[in-house]
C-alpha cells in the first residue's frame, strides 16, 4: 500500500462531489454578498435559512470526520516504529475507531436533518493538514489543529441543539465532543513527550499548527463573537491540554482572520462601487 497519500488521491465513491475553496473565492457573487446583512453568523433557529445552514454544516462535519479518520489512519501506517512509538500508533488506531463511529453518527444526524451523503460538496483541505512528512508536525496538524477545530464545531453544534430543543443533536454532539477532547489531549501529550529533548522541533511543530489554525479560521468562520459561525471552545480546549496562552493566541489568530475577511469584503465592495460608477459614466 502506498505511503504518504496526497490530498487528491483520497478514495470516494460516486456519491461524493469534490470542490475546493477557490470555487467559492472566485464566485462573482462573493463580493456582492459581502455588502449584505445576511444575519447573525452564530447558529440559531431565528437566523435566516437556519435549517439549510445546519444541514450544510452537518454534511461538512461528516466529510471532516472521514478526513480525520484518514489522517489518523495514515499516521498509523506512514511512519516506521523508529519514527513513532507503538503506543502513539495505538492511540491513532483508537482514534480511527472513534472517527469511524463519528462518521456513522454524522450520517444519522444528516438523516435526522433531512439530508444525505453527497447532498453537498466536499472540500478536502482538512486532510491537507495530515500530509506533513514529519510525524510530530502531522500530529500537531491533525490532533491539535484539525481535532481542535472539531472541538469548536461540536461545542457550537451542541449549543445549537440545546437552543433549538433538539435532544438528538445535543446528545450526539456532546458524546463526539468528549472523544475530540481526548484526541486533542493525545496530540498535546505526544507532542510534549516526543519533543521533550528537542525544543527546536517542538517549536517547528507548533508553528506548523499555527499555520494550519490560521487556515482553519476560514476568514471569520471561527472566533469568539456573534459574527463567527463556530465559537472557540476555550473550556474544552483547556481540558484537552491547551494552555491559556495557547487559547489566547488562537483567539488572536481568529480575530485577525475575521478582520482580514472584513477588509477583503470592504475592498471588494469598493471595487464593485468603483466599477458601478465607471459603468454609469
Amino acid at each position: 500500500m502506498k505511503k504518504f497519500l496526497a490530498e487528491n488521491e483520497l478514495a470516494r465513491d460516486d456519491r461524493f462531489v469534490r470542490t475546493n475553496i477557490a470555487d467559492r473565492l472566485f464566485d462573482p457573487r462573493g463580493a456582492a454578498i459581502a455588502q449584505r446583512n445576511t444575519g447573525p453568523a452564530k447558529m440559531a433557529v431565528d437566523r435566516p435559512a437556519a435549517a439549510e445552514r445546519s444541514r450544510s454544516l452537518m454534511h461538512g462535519i461528516f466529510v471532516g470526520e472521514i478526513q480525520a479518520l484518514e489522517g489518523a489512519g495514515r499516521t498509523c501506517y506512514d511512519f516506521d516504529l523508529d519514527e513513532t512509538p507503538l503506543a502513539l500508533k495505538l492511540d491513532m488506531a483508537r482514534q480511527c475507531w472513534d472517527e469511524a463511529r463519528h462518521c456513522e453518527i454524522s450520517i444519522k444526524l444528516g438523516d435526522h436533518m433531512g439530508t444525505e451523503i453527497g447532498a453537498y460538496t466536499e472540500s478536502t483541505f482538512l486532510f491537507a493538514a495530515a500530509c506533513n512528512p514529519d510525524p510530530v508536525l502531522r500530529l500537531c496538524g491533525v490532533n491539535r489543529a484539525l481535532e481542535g477545530l472539531a472541538i469548536d464545531v461540536f461545542s457550537s453544534m451542541k449549543d445549537f441543539g440545546n437552543e433549538s430543543g433538539d435532544p438528538v443533536l445535543e446528545f450526539c454532539e456532546d458524546w463526539m465532543l468528549a472523544d475530540e477532547v481526548t484526541h486533542v489531549k493525545m496530540g498535546s501529550d505526544w507532542l510534549r513527550k516526543i519533543t521533550a529533548d528537542d525544543p527546536e522541533r517542538r517549536e517547528r511543530a507548533l508553528e506548523f499548527q499555527r499555520t494550519v489554525d490560521s487556515i482553519f479560521n476560514l476568514g471569520g468562520f471561527r472566533g469568539e463573537d456573534d459574527e463567527n459561525v463556530i465559537q472557540l471552545a476555550r473550556k474544552f480546549r483547556s481540558l484537552a491540554g491547551f494552555t491559556d496562552e495557547e487559547n489566547d493566541s488562537l483567539a488572536d489568530l481568529a480575530r485577525e482572520s475575521t478582520v482580514q475577511a472584513r477588509e477583503m469584503a470592504e475592498a471588494a465592495t469598493a471595487a464593485l462601487d468603483a466599477s458601478a460608477q465607471g459603468g454609469g459614466s
Binding site: D27, I33, R47, P48, E52, R55, S56, G114, G165
Partner: protein
C-alpha cells in the same frame, strides 16, 4: 411563454440562470397548483444569494402574485453555480400553492410574508409542501419536518401537528395559528432578526 409571467433579473449577470427557463417552470407550476389563468405572476430572483442562504416569499395583491426567491434555492447543492430544474420546480410549486392560498378567502386575513412569525411560516409551508408532494413533486419529507421542528419544537405534539398539516386537503390561516398555539410556537419570544432579512438589500 405567457405574458402574465415576468421574471427579474433578465438577463442574470452574476450567475448563469435563464429567466425564460425559470418563467417556463413558473408556468408549469402555476398550472399544477391550479392558479387562475388571469392572475399575473412576478418573480424576483435574488441572484446575489448563494447556497445555503435559501428563502422564498409569496405575497398577493390586487389579483397579482408577487414572488421573491433567493438564487440559492435554484443552485444545485452538488454542483455550485449550476441551475437545478428539480429544485426550481419544487420551490416554485410550493411558493405558488401559498400564493394561491392568499388569493382565497381561507387566507384573506394572513399578514404579508414579512410579517408572519417563523412558526406561522413553517406551518403554512408544511401545508403547501404536503400538497406539492401529492401532485407528484418530490420533496424530502424529513427535511421538511426538521424545518418544522426547529420552529415548533422536537416534541410529539409538534410531530402530530406536522402530520395534520402535511395531509390536510384544506386549511385556513386561523388553522395555522391554532397549530402555533398548540405546539407553543405562538408563545416564543419575538426575534430581533427580521424574517425577511435575506430580502432586505
Amino acid at each position: 411563454m405567457s405574458s402574465r409571467i415576468t421574471v427579474s433579473p433578465d438577463p442574470f449577470t452574476l450567475i448563469d440562470y435563464d429567466a425564460a427557463v425559470i418563467a417556463g417552470i413558473v408556468e408549469d407550476a402555476a398550472a399544477t397548483v391550479g392558479l387562475p389563468t388571469n392572475v399575473e405572476i412576478h418573480l424576483d430572483v435574488d441572484e446575489v444569494l448563494f447556497a445555503p442562504l435559501v428563502g422564498h416569499m409569496s405575497d398577493a395583491a390586487d389579483g397579482k402574485a408577487n414572488l421573491w426567491i433567493s438564487g440559492a434555492n435554484f443552485e444545485d447543492s452538488r454542483r455550485p453555480r449550476t441551475f437545478s430544474t428539480e429544485q426550481a420546480r419544487r420551490d416554485l410549486t410550493v411558493m405558488l400553492f401559498r400564493a394561491n392560498d392568499r388569493l382565497s378567502e381561507d387566507f384573506a386575513d394572513a399578514p404579508p410574508d414579512a410579517e408572519l412569525t417563523r412558526g406561522e411560516r413553517a406551518a403554512w409551508d408544511v401545508y403547501a409542501v404536503g400538497r406539492a408532494v401529492r401532485e407528484g413533486v418530490p420533496v424530502p419529507r424529513q427535511a421538511q419536518i426538521y424545518e418544522f421542528r426547529l420552529q415548533h419544537g422536537f416534541t410529539d405534539i409538534a410531530d402530530a401537528a406536522f402530520e395534520r398539516l402535511w395531509n390536510a386537503e384544506s386549511m385556513t390561516f386561523a388553522g395555522v395559528r391554532e397549530v402555533c398555539a398548540e405546539t407553543g410556537a405562538a408563545e416564543r419570544r419575538t426575534s430581533k432578526v427580521p424574517i425577511d432579512l435575506l430580502r432586505q438589500k
